[in-house]
């Protein structure tokens, strides 16, 4: 897992499994950053993520809830077809900016 920060953006590159095992630690790390600035853009890059379930989705939704009222933004990029299905079933595709793997930014 790698977290890159710039003034306006936090990029979280999760690797391997984005599940119960990694979520508490990642949440604690992000909570510290979000305490400083809730209007930030948080980008989850799943290019190295082989598995995600409701624990991962729940964490992404938590970031959305923390930032959205303050003008923040959450995007999820490099999502595989099977992970995209989870976002669809959860109804999160409407809330978050989700981009499939291999697709360039839509602008």
């Amino acid at each position: 897992m790698k977290i890159e920060k710039t003034e306006k953006r936090i990029t979280v590159v999760t690797d391997g499994d984005f599940d119960l095992k990694v979520c508490p630690e990642l949440k604690a790390l992000l909570a510290v950053d979000l305490k400083h600035d809730r209007s930030i853009h948080v980008c989850f890059d799943l290019r190295k993520t082989s598995f995600i379930d409701s624990s991962g989705l729940g964490l992404i939704l938590w970031v959305y809830k923390e930032t959205a009222p303050y003008g923040g933004k959450v995007s999820v990029v490099n999502v595989t077809a099977s992970a995209e299905k989870l976002f669809d079933v959860a109804g999160l595709s409407r809330l978050l900016n989700i981009r499939r793997k291999g697709r360039e930014r839509l602008g």
Binding site: D19, K21, F51, S54, S55, L86
Partner: protein, 142 residues
């Protein structure tokens, strides 16, 4: 015995790192049956949700407790059973509502995914006696 018939039982501590072990064992079992890669991805989500629920909700983080995952295939039906002896679910119907969760972040999505990715889901639970999740999925025609 039927060539396809098979049975595997796993028992493990309610530790978060064991979710991945349950997932990998289940994926291997499902692969052996002949499920496609995308089917296996869905089955992995279902087992992950059930085991995560047992750890978080059933045992509330008490890692010394045991979770049991039983995998069976018989008569062209794959059965996945996840059992804990934890606190149980007070109101199963409410717990299965998409927006309900006693741990807010997972927002009750676990049951939604289990229902979406398996053909059937039955929940047996009583307070302080634990929970048994029984899921089935029809095997692919080979």
């Amino acid at each position: 015995m039927d060539k396809q018939e098979n049975y595997v039982k796993l028992e493990f501590y309610a530790k978060d790192q064991n979710v991945a072990i349950a997932r990998l064992a289940t994926a291997a079992f499902a692969g052996e049956i002949g499920f496609s890669l995308s089917d296996i991805e869905e089955i992995k989500v279902a087992v992950s949700e059930g085991v995560s629920n047992a750890i978080i909700h059933g045992y509330g983080g008490d890692e010394s407790r045991l979770v049991e995952v039983t995998l069976t295939v018989e008569k062209n039906l794959f059965k996945l059973e996840i059992k804990d002896d934890g606190v149980g679910i007070a109101d199963i119907k409410k717990a299965m509502e998409p927006t309900y969760s006693s741990v807010a972040e997972r927002m009750g999505l676990g049951f939604v995914f289990m229902e979406s990715f398996m053909d059937t889901l039955n929940v047996h639970s009583s307070l302080n006696c634990g929970t048994v999740l029984l899921m089935t999925r029809r095997c692919p025609h080979l």
